[in-house]
Symmetry: C2
Subunit: 586 residues, 2 copies
């Protein structure tokens, strides 16, 4: 179909939408690709829908080429399967739940592990049926606390989710690698720069997990990489455990008056002033900071938790939460202090923490707090700190936890050098799930020996709408969008300018010939719209090739513009169609 | 992609699913096209998804060809727009409602009038922007009280919904006709026999409305047609009003003892025995039956209602409900009798009914109860009926209502002859909505004179999943499905039989050559599966052309079968590919 600007359901906007912060969001709204229907919920206008379908087509082609079979599940699902895997509860506020007219519980699926598992259980029963990989491209729902950046993080969004089914670990490994390869092909074809990083499996369970991140400063995910090739999201980074320190010669712990030192900064200053260290100045790294949070478990119970870490590091709540999933973090509030009167705000130390302590609060330590390390930390009395408190001698935790921020320069856990930090958008995620879902839902097959074995699974997702936003984010300039070829809503934008009827007739004819050649055309045939507005719209919309039919026609030429480079050249009218075709197919 | 039965995610079933009553449901499940996920909620397996996408493609092509533009709305929508049109309430239990994490009200859209209206309001502002027709092919949700017959009446289903926007009635008429024409093309291409019938607009509001019904005994909708070309669904049939009857000579009404006559049948018998009529016997048509129901209004209030109609006709609750929409019907219960002690069960007459009566119950009459007609009816006393009660002299109603059943032989309202009744599946519905939604949501444009005018709208739906079920229903035999060409999951089903490796190699080669020619192939390459099972599966799956590569190969022939006619013929191996291609391209 030839799209005509004169009738296209489109209004471009000169102003950025007020709620938009990132370029892709602003431009997709301004260029008339999407429109907000509710927070995190978007309507696709004709141009946007065309791009979305093209992104979907790339994903589908690569899935099909890998031998994965497409199916389509409902979005509205009954509670029971999700109850069986405990995800009905674990998913917390992130899942939309509802009741039908009979009062039965339903959900809008955020992901479909349970249903795929049950379907395979329904159809298959033998190892001969496996391996199997099936997928869908489908609308998903997540009640995000902070929907953001347009379609980048929506509450209703399109996702490609695949699931693999294998008899054993070796099979799962093969399926996982096939998906990994297919994902690399998808993102490469979409022109999306990506980094594959190790990830924690979090609420999904499972053994191995990697994220495909598109590096960009506006990304919500922070990841690290090392010169030696290590790459992980920050939640997955493990802290290299330093060797234990001999402490036979360590002085005994001693409590000192440190009035008005509720912060690490004031404490370090006071320590250096009143209790100077002979060899060097005290630094924040010499202090042990004890941070209180509350875990909300999936069943709704609240559990206070203390985390001890070197005072020069902040707690990274996302890392802490990932370590403690599926529990979620909440603030430790006044009421929690009231419930634990032994805690002295600003001066809390290991003496008052731990399951065996008076407070009974579980106390987890940063892995750097190894045996023999010496610390300045709270003495559980107002205005007092304890010095030379030795881990393993004077205190122990109830375990260790990855809670401290990762910093540029930190060593990679695999010894491959110092880490650098970057931000990215999660565009894909692959999980070797293992048997969690198959066990919960009793998916077994007969193996070669006629024995029932639990199937092992993988789950693999691509955020289709998010990938589209990432493509827009990575392909724009200050004038508008610049779509990669093959993903643009049209191959060429033919712009007829001026008032000469001949111009319009010629533009129409060129457009028709191009269409007949299989080139998709967006034709700006609007009468009474100035060339300036038309050019601005063409730049905003971002079709990669622009053909201007205008004044030059009197001299028998048209102008071929490349949207990305901005290069323009005159082409004799007779060569317009082949020139466009060459540019498009180029 | 070449689909192989050896790896296809499919299990055919020999037994009908227990819950299935109609053929399309049984066969779509047995042949592995769909699988039930919850009541009225289905999963599409690979073969089913292929057919669904083909049906969608036909719909999309015809919409595009008509110049309608595709968009895509969310399914999860905020309450406010539906509140503005009162549909949040009016839709009753049929709408899925839910709350997000912040407690805001949302719904799963059963239809999108509100959102389309708001989008056009958002983008357009001038008569020059109109006419506009936009559509989507999208997943819809309705919490049906009785989901039924597989995907024929589901709670999550695919619908194509279009909306037209015009400045005036003449424009709406043109848009309506364009949709009507496009629908005729769609259903013709889908090979679906259809009847276009007049319909009432019901809860949608609006002036003109027609349904596209696929005639079939398993249809849920009853419609009528006359020899002269009248066609309507029963809800839309209006009763020709007979002329008034002179009643100057009519005897005065007289109450008679009619003990033990709580039914029309007993009453007629008693009247003929004790009070015979001189000219002929009394019949049920001489009696006036008064039926009590309760209306539940959208705001939840209950209103008792009485309907008076000739005793030879039953009340058609669907017709009555359509007449009184958006109110819904409920039974008149014991508690309602208790609240109206003047009502004498079995002997209720016009004397005790009406807004001005002691009961205060609104009393609506069948249009046949014209002035001067004489009736035997309840005398509001146990065991007593009143005779010669004359309409317009002795009683009047509070109005008239279409509540009586339509019967074969009834006159068509347009005088085009006696009606015949038939059943059908509603596969499409077109509405000239008028200004209800535009007014409620304030969609106005500037007209040629610079004056703000309210836009007039149409809404047009095709049940895509339902159309697929109707196609399956109309294209099957006792062995399985028989897809029309172009809608089948593949063009040809190549079946390799026996154990000879040569057979499998040859079948593979033929399949590859056909694929290369653009023919979509389903290849039964399963080893160790008997020819009988393979043939049964092929018949069940219903690909229109079947090519058997088997024993004949030794003599250099393969067998080409037509699934619909059952005809089979031997084809020399060398001609297999061109013979299939010719059959497929027809």
């Amino acid at each position: 179909m030839l799209m005509r600007m004169s009738t296209l359901f489109l209004r471009t906007l000169r102003e950025d939408p007020v709620e938009a912060e990132v370029a892709s969001h602003k431009l997709l709204v301004r260029a008339g690709y999407v429109r907000r229907a509710a927070p995190g919920i978007y309507t696709w206008l004709p141009l946007g829908l065309k791009v979305l379908r093209r992104v979907e087509a790339v994903v589908r082609e690569e899935m099909d080429a890998a031998g994965f079979q497409e199916v389509h599940f409902p979005a509205l699902l009954p509670r029971e399967p999700y109850e069986a895997t405990n995800r009905w509860t674990e998913y917390g506020d992130g899942m939309f739940r509802l009741k039908d007219r009979k009062g039965a519980d339903y959900l809008l699926a955020p992901t479909h592990e349970e249903m795929f598992t049950l379907l395979v259980k329904d159809l298959y029963s033998s190892y001969k049926d496996l391996p199997l990989s099936i997928y869908q491209i489908q609308t998903k729902y997540r009640d995000e606390a902070r929907p953001r950046a347009g379609v980048l993080r929506g509450r209703e969004f399109v996702m490609k989710d695949s699931y693999s089914f294998d008899v054993d670990e070796a099979g799962l490994e093969v399926s996982y690698e096939k998906h990994r390869d297919a994902y690399i092909r998808v993102f490469t074809r979409l022109g999306l720069e990506f980094v594959v990083v190790s990830a924690v499996s979090g609420a999904m369970g499972g053994s191995r997990s990697e994220e495909f991140l598109h590096p960009t400063p506006i990304g919500e995910d922070t990841f690290v990489r090392s010169p030696g090739g290590y790459a992980a999201n920050v939640e997955a980074v493990t802290t290299p455990v330093p060797p234990a320190v001999p402490f036979d010669d360590a002085p005994a712990a001693h409590v000192e008056d440190t009035p008005d030192t509720p912060t690490i900064e004031t404490l370090v200053a006071a320590a250096n002033a009143a209790h100077p260290r002979p060899d060097r100045a005290w630094t924040a790294a010499d202090t042990l900071k004890n941070v209180l949070v509350v875990l909300r478990h999936p069943d709704g119970t609240r559990e206070p938790l203390a985390v001890g870490l070197p005072g020069d590091r902040e707690v990274d709540l996302k890392r802490l939460e990932a370590s403690l999933a599926p529990a979620e973090l909440e603030a430790f509030e006044e009421k929690d202090f009231a419930a634990h009167p032994a805690l002295v705000k600003g001066y809390i130390g290991p003496g008052g923490l731990g399951e065996e302590s008076a407070s009974g609060i579980r106390y987890l330590l940063d892995p750097r707090v190894v045996e023999g390390t010496r610390w300045i930390t709270g003495a559980d009395a107002p205005g007092k700190h304890v010095f030379d408190l030795v881990a393993g001698r004077d205190f122990t935790g109830d375990g260790f936890v990855e809670a401290a921020e990762v910093r540029a320069g930190d060593p990679a856990p695999d010894g491959s050098g110092p880490l650098e930090l970057a931000r990215g958008i999660e565009i894909g995620h692959i999980f070797a799930l293992g048997r969690r879902y198959a066990e919960a839902l009793d998916l077994k097959v007969l193996d070669e020996n006629g024995k029932q074995v639990v199937v092992t699974m993988g789950s693999y997702g691509i955020g289709v709408t998010r990938a589209l936003a990432a493509i827009a984010e990575g392909n724009h300039d200050d004038k508008g969008l610049v779509w990669p070829r093959g993903l643009a809503p049209a191959d060429v934008h033919v712009v007829a300018t001026g008032k000469d009827p001949e111009v319009f007739t010629t533009a129409e004819r060129i457009a028709s010939e191009l269409q007949a050649d299989g080139v998709e055309v967006l034709l700006d045939d609007r009468p009474k719209v100035s060339p300036g507005v038309k050019f601005k719209d063409a730049e905003l919309i971002g079709v990669p090739t622009i053909l201007v039919v205008g004044k030059g026609l009197a001299e028998g030429v048209v102008e071929l513009r490349d949207r990305r480079s901005g290069e323009a050249r005159q082409v004799p009218l007779a060569e317009a169609v082949p020139a466009v075709t060459a540019a498009v197919r180029g």
